[in-house]
Symmetry: C2
Subunit: 224 residues, 2 copies
């Protein structure tokens, strides 16, 4: 089934990882895939641009259907393969509402993380300000406290007892936080959530290869 | 039905408008609503914070269910009231895929617009750079050309012949572009799309009241 699917991706990309977890959860192994290098600017190669005019990864194709936005690909896969693999949208309207809410808050979470760990990448040297980076760090701390609080109110996953699309899209952000040195002592519920989900088969199967090669991450967030 | 719903909103907010269009399309008129003032910081009032810890608008409640993120509320309303009013997710997998793709590209579109029209609001005076604003304008132009191209390939709406969730979430961005002076001569397909959708009953019913009071907008984007 997955032979008519192609994923162009890069290692450690949160959006790419979302799609890879969704593919695993829907039992869509065996898709065509190509690991590209962000450093070598391969996301701007003709191969990518032919499918994705934004020159971004993931770039995802299923037959003639192109769905490059990571959230879009996750929704598409769940809709198209609804009865296959893990059911990623719960039947309960209450859980569904919470799932949608957390999914979209997850975009803010990801943005606040990026604004700290990739500040120098996004902002040209002559436009950088200590005051801006400090503000970004404070915003990330506020965000982390929100999520720490959310996890105190639910069972084990973001929208309740079962694994849903909210976990598919938010877990890669949480894993990246710990890769960049977040303290599980300071954020124990996030630490618990990370430890639970990192053992999930779909997550293990899609773990960023360069994190496996070099298990030690950065300590950018150790004081956050 | 809509008596058990409450929407706190402000006039001219793109995220608020999305939810209001969705409510109209699902025939959910008559909900409790309160127009708050962003200038008076009413989005940080206790009334909002009690429901929405982020202190943002829209803030939306249906019975005990809280769904504040605008995309989340639109998905929730379509799922909960699937057979009521306009069907906002098409059955065709191809249209659905395109709808999801455009919805999530719509977030980038909105972000690129904000980075230009609200640059001074987002960036403290001592951190502003002409080079940054120039780059933001170039990024918005690139984005506009992408959407102009997309609209050349579809019938009348963003995901095909029918009005879908993609239109619900992206139209308020397009309307804001024209409110801020975008040239329909330079972007004729966007202009056509704007003119078609602004006559739609759900859009007319939810048109920002301060735009009605003062029909002349700004010219911030006239040279874009």
């Amino acid at each position: 089934m997955a032979k008519d699917m192609t994923l162009l991706w890069c290692s450690g990309s949160v959006p790419c990882w979302r799609v890879m977890i969704a593919l695993e959860e829907k039992n869509l192994q065996g898709y065509n895939q190509k690991l590209l290098s962000f450093e070598k600017m391969e996301h701007k190669s003709k191969e990518v641009l032919d499918i994705n005019p934004r020159g971004q990864l993931p770039t995802f194709k299923h037959g003639d259907i192109i769905v490059n936005e990571s959230y879009a690909a996750c929704f598409y896969l769940e809709s198209k393969f609804e009865s296959q693999g893990t059911k990623l949208i719960p039947d309960s309207q209450t859980e569904q509402a919470l799932m949608y809410q957390r999914m979209f808050e997850g975009l803010t979470f990801y943005e606040k993380l990026n604004a700290v760990i990739y500040y120098e990448w996004y902002v040209p040297e002559e436009e950088r300000h200590d005051s801006a980076l400090k503000r970004n760090k404070e915003a990330l701390i506020t965000e982390l406290k929100l999520w720490e609080g959310y996890l105190q109110k639910v069972y084990s996953h973001l929208a309740g007892p079962s694994f849903t699309l909210a976990d598919v899209v938010v877990f890669p952000t949480v894993a990246t936080l710990f890769r960049f040195g977040l303290s599980a002592e300071r954020y124990p519920k996030l630490g618990e959530y990370y430890n639970l989900l990192k053992e999930r088969p779909s997550v293990k199967a899609s773990w960023p290869p360069h994190w496996l090669e070099n298990p030690k991450g950065q300590d950018t967030l150790k004081d956050i």
